[in-house]
Chain length 383, copies 2
């Protein structure tokens, strides 16, 4: 088969979602590694840590106390990258200055969301049923920030948060923001400084780079293919090829995308058109929860370690044109750095930063590995 | 001044060289850091290490022996990401497959170049006069791969390498390649696995992402501004503003670009139009060497450590249209990860990967720090 040739030759693959390329050099894994070793995270954490600023009942850096929450808990980041209010900025200068020294103020709101009350659990340890509350919390935060003009506002389940909602304590945003990025940094290797399971939500007055690039590609495809969706057509093709599919259920597919950059990069993609999490019914939420449980558990099983990654949800902007909202297609990206073992990671450095992302195994090889490590979480088998 | 407001508010800055944005959140450095600690590199290496595959006279992984070289030494990477010869690839498939499963073979040649015979020296330890041979080696490798149709071929100093040139032992490339990326990964934090001072040179049949993006921006600017150059106009403005200039001499300026992403990111930019290193005369080479010595020494002085970074040279493609060659403007990027100390780095992870690069100090604050740590290398003062 033609695809098998790609296991042995250097080639570049096109990423239609970003309009960019990645260089694939499958033979490179043979090189010896004498460089930096990651320290695999400790597996023996307590279920409650009195020094953790995320555990229920504890007091945070700036003095606020966490409630005795049961599943999830959300609060405004004590060190937010963007804030609701700040000084104004009036740039001065000639034409050259306004081109070369161009700055625009960004306001917004940053949240932290815990995934579990237990300090020592991760998404990989949770059952799909235990992940559903996390999805519900994401939906509540998103819904409470949706523009009333957004077509999604009519399907958003929560317009007034019930008093027992984990997000009910949050004050309304001061203004309508443009975009909300939900993400998780897991593991010290991905800049995470607290093992308590949590993710973040950054909401901004601007549409950031990556969703803007993707939205442009999604819109272009729809125009060119009379309303069909890029990710819909891609998923259909992958389900037929079956070369890069790690897991699927009725609602979602987990796959190593053709254009993956990170060694074991995956995407969770909705099989049918969902513009955002708020488009999911209860059954579909359960299926997304299962997909998240499947991939995070497989990651941990792969090298029998707490597998570090950054995960992010791409969905419709909070405010945007009808074309933007309708072109959005719910998907999650997982970018994990490990390459060969719990301690040897892939560095995207010199060549990757200066020239082009480069990977050392093919996405098809990564798929084969991830397919074969399903089943129970390795840590449970050891117990 | 308007610029001072930017020290206190979140804002995004535009990068005209890439057409992209970076989010700046200056107040974020206040957050406490409990995450991963980098291990600062050992400073006590021997001048010669019998186990190093780069030291003069030693034998490499695949059995080749290094000569007893004096300054620089270049050889084909034993684990090259691209090769001169490989199997052919003939994609098969319908229209959807050729869009979504698009792969093109890449051939080329990868070199390793040592910067010094001494195992324990880095660019920061070398004098400008000792860096000139490195620049000459880069020029020799580049020249010996230039397309005869490239206007630069007429100014390239070496058409036939002298028998004592460090690159003379290299065989001619099997075909004309499109682009050559010269770069250095320094330090374990940047994926470097051998402290012996060295860089790499990857030459490919394709024009990689980053230089392609920059070239597009450079060409567009010239068309719009009747032949003027983006980087020429930018440097002129920065030399007038003096807010981001770390160092300058007659030929080059070292600055923290307005749009820097990494905390202490810098660029070395030629003050006048140089399309590639081969455009430099001896005096200009000495000035570039001085600029490299200045910034690498300042980096090491900043946190009194071997400062990790990835460095890359952007210059004209080996083969290209006249417009591409004439639009190219020689510059070097330095992407260093350290943020607050020798052990605390900036992670460009979740938000940065999923949404937009984000930085915690302003480029102006970084400039002030780098300006104030000139002078002798801290290690020498300690001796
Ligand atoms: O070629 P090296 O030094 O083995 O490898 C290093 O540089 C390469 C080019 O930037 C990267 O792809 C590798 O991840 C990194 O470890
Ligand atoms: O917000 P945290 O967890 O302190 O910080 C982490 O995530 C942020 C968002 O991806 C990054 O900017 C930081 O570099 C990283 O350490």
């Amino acid at each position: 088969k033609a695809i098998d040739v790609l296991d042995d030759i250097s080639h570049r693959r096109y990423n239609p979602l970003r309009g960019s390329y990645v260089l694939v050099s499958p033979h490179r894994t043979k090189r010896p590694w004498q460089g930096q070793q990651e320290s695999p995270s400790k597996t023996t954490l307590p279920a409650y840590d009195p020094a953790c600023y995320l555990c229920p009942g504890n007091t945070r850096a700036q003095g606020d106390a966490n409630p005795a929450y049961k599943n999830t808990f959300v609060f405004v980041n004590d060190y937010s990258a963007v804030k609701e209010e700040q000084a104004e900025y009036h740039p001065e200068g000639n034409e050259a200055e306004s081109f070369f020294l161009n700055a625009e103020p960004v306001v917004g709101k940053c949240y932290v969301l815990t995934f579990s009350a237990a300090h020592n659990l991760t998404l990989a340890d949770l059952s799909p049923a235990e992940i559903v509350p996390v999805i519900n919390a994401w939906i509540e935060i998103y819904s409470s920030h949706l523009s009333p003009q957004n077509p999604l506002a009519t399907v958003a389940p929560v317009t007034h948060l019930p008093p027992d909602a984990p997000t009910a304590s949050l004050t309304k945003p001061k203004m309508q923001y443009r975009y909300m990025q939900i993400f998780e940094n897991k593991g010290a290797a991905m800049g995470c400084s607290n093992p308590h399971p949590h993710g973040q939500v950054w909401t901004t007055s601007s549409l950031p780079e990556e969703p803007a690039i993707e939205l442009e590609q999604l819109k272009k495809y729809r125009v060119k293919h009379s309303g069909k969706h890029l990710l819909g057509d891609y998923v259909a093709l992958e389900l037929q090829k079956k070369e890069r599919v790690v897991f699927e259920n009725d609602g979602f597919v987990v796959l190593c995308p053709w254009w993956a950059t990170w060694p074991f990069e995956t995407m969770i993609i909705s099989k049918t058109h969902k513009r955002a999490l708020v488009d999911l019914n209860d059954n579909e939420k359960a299926q997304l929860a299962e997909a998240i449980a499947e991939i995070t558990r497989r990651y941990d099983n792969l090298f029998e370690t707490h597998f570090p990654y950054s995960m992010g949800i791409h969905q419709a902007p909070l405010e945007g044109t009808e074309e933007e909202i309708e072109s959005s297609w719910l998907h999650l990206h997982f970018y994990p750095p490990l390459l060969r073992s719990a301690t040897v990671r892939k560095f995207l450095v010199g060549y990757e930063m200066m020239a082009e992302p480069q990977r050392d195994i093919t996405p098809e090889q990564a798929t084969t590995r991830l397919r074969s490590c399903g089943g129970e979480l390795y840590r449970r088998k050891l117990e």
